[in-house]
Symmetry: C2
């Protein structure tokens, strides 16, 4: 039998904190990073996966991937990739490792990287990009990959099957439309807190001219700054939707007050107004800031928390994240939950590689699950795409359909080697530059 012969992890970090790309009210100095894994078999398969992180602690993720990798080494690859539901449960429900979550944080993200690397092998075997593989799978196989544990009160396997069967009608037309015209995008590039007003205005105008469906501004540092920046952005883009994002900065009542002070600028949604664990808090905030929509998801730990956000009527927009949860399989569960509750999915992206991964979920969602582009768009941030085997392509403010087989996770080996932390050549150079410019080594993630 063909079996898994090696599972190798790499701690890859990019020194983005030196430029203040990605700065917000909570993530003040991220070094966009990937805890990267490659699974190889003696049949020549190669599957890539990673977890995105913000720098420090990326080595905890690689240690976690290594721990779960021991459960996969030596196993029959065909058994795993043709029973991806079983493969996922083997990892996520391991009787000893489960204590470390359960199903949240570092361990869930590590499982997700491995599960997604198995999906990568499956998609390469079938010579399809992930979104097309998923779109062409039978409803029965899709249901078989989903773990319904602790969500059955909101979504039964039978209901999931009904959603997916209904999604077969008109599927070929939607797939053709995706290949021809792609999927709407919005951009966060103008709105980082660390950018000057001039840069904010310039990038906002560029985003509108480029055809993006929306721009997004980080808020939550200082209300006067936020009002000034919102006014500038509104003037720059006219009627184009502007979302705002507080990155969990506020208490519940504070969120309501703050958003209401920005209401005159007509924000399209408020993202992460408070802790994403706070389901009841989000429900209160949604009532308090209507008609401004409430969005969250990039830090939501599992389908179980999403289930409750939907049950409680706490969100208007679900922001699925590709590497926060248990990989491709759990993201399918989350798409099905969103469809069941009729809430649009606008995935989180940015960081490193998240755009490359997450587009597949929106494409699949449109083809078979949610079946609409109305109020749907994928986040786009223009960072670090050049490191990927198939960088995202934005055409007229829309994501173009990815075509290479696989999940989109593959980062060039040369990029991984150059930015491997702490010994890659890139880090050697940055370490020197950081010393010259006086930038903090700790802030650059080298604070060992």
């Amino acid at each position: 039998m063909p079996s898994i012969t090696s599972i190798k992890t790499q701690d890859v970090r990019f020194p983005t904190s030196l430029e203040l790309d990605g700065s917000d009210a909570v993530n003040v100095d991220p070094d966009y990073s990937a805890a990267y894994v490659v699974i190889r078999t003696d049949a020549g398969d190669e599957g890539h996966g990673f977890v995105f992180s913000c720098g420090r602690g990326n080595e905890i993720l690689t240690a976690a991937i290594d721990a779960y990798a021991r459960l996969l080494l030596g196993r029959d690859i065909d058994e795993l990739i043709y029973d991806l539901g079983g493969a996922s449960k083997l990892l996520i429900h391991d009787s000893q490792l489960r204590w470390l979550g359960p199903e949240k944080g570092v361990t869930q993200m590590a499982c997700g990287a491995l599960v997604s690397a198995l999906w990568d092998i499956r998609a390469r075997r079938e010579n399809k990009p992930l979104w097309l593989l998923l779109s062409e799978m039978t409803p029965e196989e899709l249901v078989s990959v989903v773990d319904f544990t602790h969500i059955r009160d909101a979504l039964s396997p039978e209901e999931a099957l009904d959603i997916l069967r209904a999604g077969q009608a008109g599927k070929e037309e939607r797939i053709a439309a995706l290949k021809a015209d792609g999927f709407p995008a919005y951009t966060t590039s103008p709105g980082w807190l660390g950018y000057s007003d001039e840069k904010l205005v310039r990038l906002s105008k560029e985003a509108a001219a480029d055809g993006f469906s929306m721009i997004k501004l980080k808020v939550g540092g200082d209300i006067n700054d936020d009002r000034r920046r919102m006014a500038l952005a509104r003037e720059a883009v006219g009627d184009l939707p502007i979302a705002i994002d507080a990155n969990q900065r506020w208490e519940v009542s504070e969120a309501i007050e703050w958003v209401n002070q920005l209401a005159e600028f007509n924000p399209y949604w408020i993202e992460e107004p408070t802790s994403t664990d706070d389901i009841l808090g989000h429900a209160d905030i949604r009532k308090g800031v209507a008609p401004v929509r409430v969005a969250t998801g990039e830090a939501v730990a599992s389908r179980i928390i999403f289930k409750q956000l939907l049950q409680a009527g706490a969100i208007d927009v679900l922001q699925l994240d590709s590497t926060r949860v248990g990989g491709v399989s759990e993201n399918i569960a989350i798409l099905l939950l969103a469809a069941k509750f009729g809430v649009p999915v606008c995935p989180h992206a940015g960081g490193v590689g998240l755009c490359e991964l997450v587009q597949h979920f929106s494409f699949f969602d449109y083809a078979v699950v949610g079946r609409s582009q109305e109020n749907r768009m994928i986040e786009f941030v223009d960072h670090l795409h050049e490191h990927f085997a198939e960088p995202v392509r934005i055409v007229g403010g829309r994501y173009a359909a990815p075509v290479l087989p696989g999940t989109g996770a593959e980062m060039y080996a040369a990029s991984r080697a150059r930015w491997e932390f702490p010994d890659g050549a890139g880090w050697q150079e940055v370490g020197n530059r950081a010393a010259v410019t006086g930038a903090s080594l700790a802030a650059a993630g080298t604070g060992r």
Copy 2:
């Protein structure tokens, strides 16, 4: 200034899976383990802390403690231990590491071990056991150690201060009572799923004779087994309360049906009927199984989830866990939340060292916060106490007040060395025995 000069971690595991101690419907084969840390200063301070785990993956926890330790090395110890709220925030809100939770799973537990090790140094400096240190602190200092982020809608600093100030009245009498008579305990020792009926009955009778306030049975494997075992236990202990514990095994509706099938045996509480992340599910279950109480907490990731369980009226009993959350500081927040909502705290214990740690919280709770022993008791399981510098003492079915300075975390260096994984002498011997008896090396946690 006296500063932190070394922070050393150890991966300590005990091969408890060989005996099926600690077996339940989910944790079928735990190897009770501690990701152990010792903080040392150049002033001669030594602070101990650990995270409990079930074996595999304990090395992820030590890697996480190492990652956070870099934020503490070289710092002024006095600044940390006399501003433990600030020390806690320094770790938990680190701008890059925060992404890996936030505030949940591996990273939160790792922060907790370090925060608690700092508390251990503080308590040793003041020559008091933790519970007495806390009981004698001013309300103002106690409030200063609590992180109110994302719980202010349920508990403001002012309300916390009111609770603690009210707790000063009669405090000396309650402390004297704790020193004289200790605090009630219940025991889970009879009820592991892996035990025979004969052992269940024998241990249940012993527990009743020993004066424990309650016994607890693991359930959720098979309903017919559960009914038979409940009947046997009820016959063995008469009117003594019997709690049942499903370790998150069920879906919401399944929990309600299962518990109602055991209702005739009058269970005192049902513990962890479903995912502890499922706040709304717990609320539904509580309605569906009344008058049986609903209890949870050992897997609750943070004060933010506890806040919502209380706000939603989802639990009757709050089972604080000493190493699941952000250490002593976050557990103080949880005790205050429970007091605010009038819900009794019955801490989770067992595993390795959890009894030694958690007793301090119940003693402090009685002295100053909850101020009652009614419906309160601390879990007791008779495993592995001999490895601790101050093993718990049970007298007449009650925890006797700990007297040694510190948090109770200190495990003997000889025990740590013997059971260090995978190279300690104990593991060398067990590895051999496991090979002889055919016990799975993977199940014993050696599946590297």
